[in-house]
Amino acid sequence: MPDIIFRDGGIRQNQWFVISRPESGETLDIPEQKRVLIPADLWLENREQFSGNENVGVWFDSHDEPEVLADHVNELPLIAVNFPKFSDGRGYSIARLLRERFGYKNELRAIGDVLLDQLQFMKRCGFDTYELRPDKDIRKAARALNFFSQGYQAATDTDLPLFRRRAS
């Protein structure tokens, strides 16, 4: 499995397997002794079984509504958001909602069509790990995460927009 980039630019081994949505009629097949990410609605359907299990997290697709997990986010060790195409910007809003609206505290990961030039936006919106598409040069991630030293807006990384920081 490809390595994972952390928000500080560090690179570590990936421990999480993404389990695709099962075809209709098939059941969710969770490999033993692995840490897995399952579709969020399936986790919710089987919440009693999975809640508190440190080896089972969830993933959202870009058209999913994170509201479904609003009351349970911190029962999860990891939430991933899939970018089916890097130009699909819905994942940024999903991330901010998870962090700022639902108070999600644990690891938030970007998966899918994750490229270098979007990493800093992802970081600002609350993602703290990134599964870079394997053909991209992971050594360039640290620079891409830090193209800018600050932003004009408040986001997940700072409560204070620049107009409030200027005033202080």
Binding site: G89, R90, Y92, S93, Q120, C125, F147, S149, Q153, R166
Partner: protein, 550 residues
């Protein structure tokens, strides 16, 4: 006008370094074409029919003389010595080399300019009235709000990959709407509520393009301090629910229509309720800080130069015509607002040479406190000219090519670059404008016709705003041949209306005749004081149809 502080400067420099890095990776083959595409677009760079095109941002149309001179130098050093004023108050270069663009951006950053978000599916340059701050009927100067929106929207981490482009316009005048806010994704009309508090009436979901729509009101009154949180709520609803499956249905207008304006407003209010009291809520101090950059220049205490001007007009008919058409009333006694028309026949509308850019800079320094404004009609405004120096100014304009006294007349044509330059265009637009200007070369006749907006777009994307022209011309492609569809009755101000299509399209050579027939009908049908639009609204489209297709 706004001046960068250390934060703005730092981010501008970081942006240039970022794009340099991205360009190097693109040239080295590390970025696929579709991956580089949104990055270059958000730095203003299109790849066009003949060469790349760089769209440089002119925030809400304001330029200082030092910036004009830098633009002139850039067109000389990196381009073919001319530039183009666009219909969204920006400036375009038509011939830069892709490899040079990071250097051009660095040169721009030195004079506090950039090309951020002038293209791509993101929040674009916020536009406003070119007479902001100098007209007497506005509630307050709209430009500080435009600057506040500029900062908020610049590199916004959540809204860089929207379903489609997103344009905001602000207007503060009660009588006029030179910013055409009702045909924008968000149009903000500055208003006071019954309690006398300042705020915005919020229109969402207007736009031109393939599905032209006039924006409905989704909130009658938004208190000014709530501006950014409310915009954030609108954008978040759009980012999450706007269509991404079909680029022709991806603008916010389609979402507003699908949900109905009431349904859309409800969704926005629900989102806003969560964030309205967050630290992103503006503070009076934050607004005052920006307003302090838009204070009045050092006006002299003057009386209106009524007698002097009357004498000068009597002695000089050309000056009289120019004064009547290209000069507007200023809020300060003794001053005037001057529009320099970039519409000289023989030059594509909005095009200026490097030398002309420098001449405009010199005029700004000499006559207007070193600042100019670019208009969405592709002209340039000197906003603060002393009335007693108008004659002296006018005498210089003719030789420079800015003196054509045709502002707001039939030949003050709004025109996109069209098929001569643009890869998207179905047809050329500049030669059509040129042929019409040549046909209507008699100024007295133009004045007699009064105000007529003639807008030409080379394709559906409607950069020439053809839908809201009193007469609109749209280039269409029929089996590889260029044809032109005509629409009538469009309007862009407070009475914003989408024009109605006249009928089957015409060959390019026929266009001057077609326009002449339309004008004929107006001249025959009008009553004393009726404008073209008034007559059209009274008699309808049929008399025009009958004459043109007779």
């Amino acid at each position: 006008m706004y001046v960068y502080d250390e934060h703005d400067r730092q981010m501008a420099a970081e942006r240039v370094a970022q794009f340099r890095d991205q360009t190097e990776r693109a040239l080295a083959g590390e970025l696929a074409e579709d991956e580089f595409l949104p990055l270059r677009l958000q730095n203003g760079l299109y790849v066009q029919r003949l060469a790349p095109m760089l769209r440089i941002c002119v925030p809400y149309g304001m330029l200082r003389s030092v910036q004009l001179r830098r633009l002139a130098r850039i067109t000389r050093d990196y381009d073919k010595g001319y530039a183009h004023f666009t219909t969204r108050q920006n400036v375009q270069l038509n011939w830069p080399n892709l490899e040079d663009v990071p250097d051009i951006l660095a040169e721009l950053a030195e004079v506090e300019m950039h090309a951020n978000q002038t293209s791509g599916n993101c929040i674009r340059n916020t536009t406003t009235d070119q007479f902001a701050g100098v007209q007497s009927d506005e509630l307050t100067d709209p430009r500080p709000y435009c600057e506040i929106i500029r900062q908020w929207s610049t590199f916004h981490p959540e809204f860089a990959y929207l379903p489609r482009k997103f344009k905001v316009a602000v207007n503060a005048s009660e009588k006029t709407d030179r910013a055409a806010i009702r045909v924008h994704d968000i149009g903000l009309q500055i208003v006071r509520n019954d309690a006398g508090e300042l705020g915005f009436r919020v229109h969402v979901g207007g736009g031109l393009g393939r599905t032209p729509m006039v924006a409905p009101v989704i909130r009658e009154f938004l208190p000014e301090l709530d501006l950014l949180t409310y915009l954030e709520a609108v954008l978040r609803v759009y980012n999450r629910y706007g269509r991404r499956d079909n680029k022709f249905k991806a603008r916010i207008k389609i979402l507003v229509k699908a949900l109905t304006p009431e349904g859309f407003a409800e969704k926005v209010e629900a989102e806003w309720a969560h964030i309205k009291d967050s630290p992103s809520r503006l503070t009076p101090e934050a607004i005052e800080r920006i307003q302090a950059y838009f204070t009045e220049p050092a006006y002299a205490a003057l009386d209106n130069a009524t007698d002097l001007l009357a004498r000068q007009r009597f002695e000089n008919r050309g000056f009289d015509q120019w004064l009547q058409h290209n000069v507007d009333v200023h809020k300060k006694p003794g001053y005037a607002i001057v529009s320099l028309t970039m519409k000289k026949t023989g030059t594509p509308p909005g095009d200026v040479t490097d030398r002309q850019l420098e001449q405009i800079a010199d005029l700004a320094d000499e006559y207007s406190f070193g600042e100019v404004r670019v208009t969405h009609q592709q002209n340039v405004v000197l906003a603060d000219v002393r009335q007693d120096r108008l004659l002296e100014l006018w005498e210089q304009l003719g030789p420079m090519g800015f003196g054509t006294a045709n502002l707001n007349t039939l030949t003050d044509i709004i025109c996109c670059p069209g098929g001569d330059f643009c890869a998207l265009a179905n047809a050329k637009s500049i030669p059509v404008a040129d042929a019409i200007q040549r046909r209507f070369d008699n100024l007295d006749f133009l004045y007699d016709l009064g105000e007529i907006d003639l807008n030409i777009s080379g394709c559906m994307n409607a950069c020439g705003h053809h839908h809201v022209g009193n007469i609109g011309v749209l280039g269409v492609d029929k089996k590889g041949q260029e044809f032109y569809q005509v629409s009538l009755g469009g309007a862009s101000q407070h009475d914003a209306t989408i024009g109605k299509i006249l009928g089957p399209s015409f060959a390019r050579d026929d266009m001057p005749d077609v326009i002449a027939k339309i004008i004929d009908v107006y001249v025959n049908k009008r009553t004393d004081e009726e404008s073209f639009l008034d007559t059209y609204r009274r008699v309808g489209i049929d008399p025009f149809k009958e004459r043109v297709y007779a």
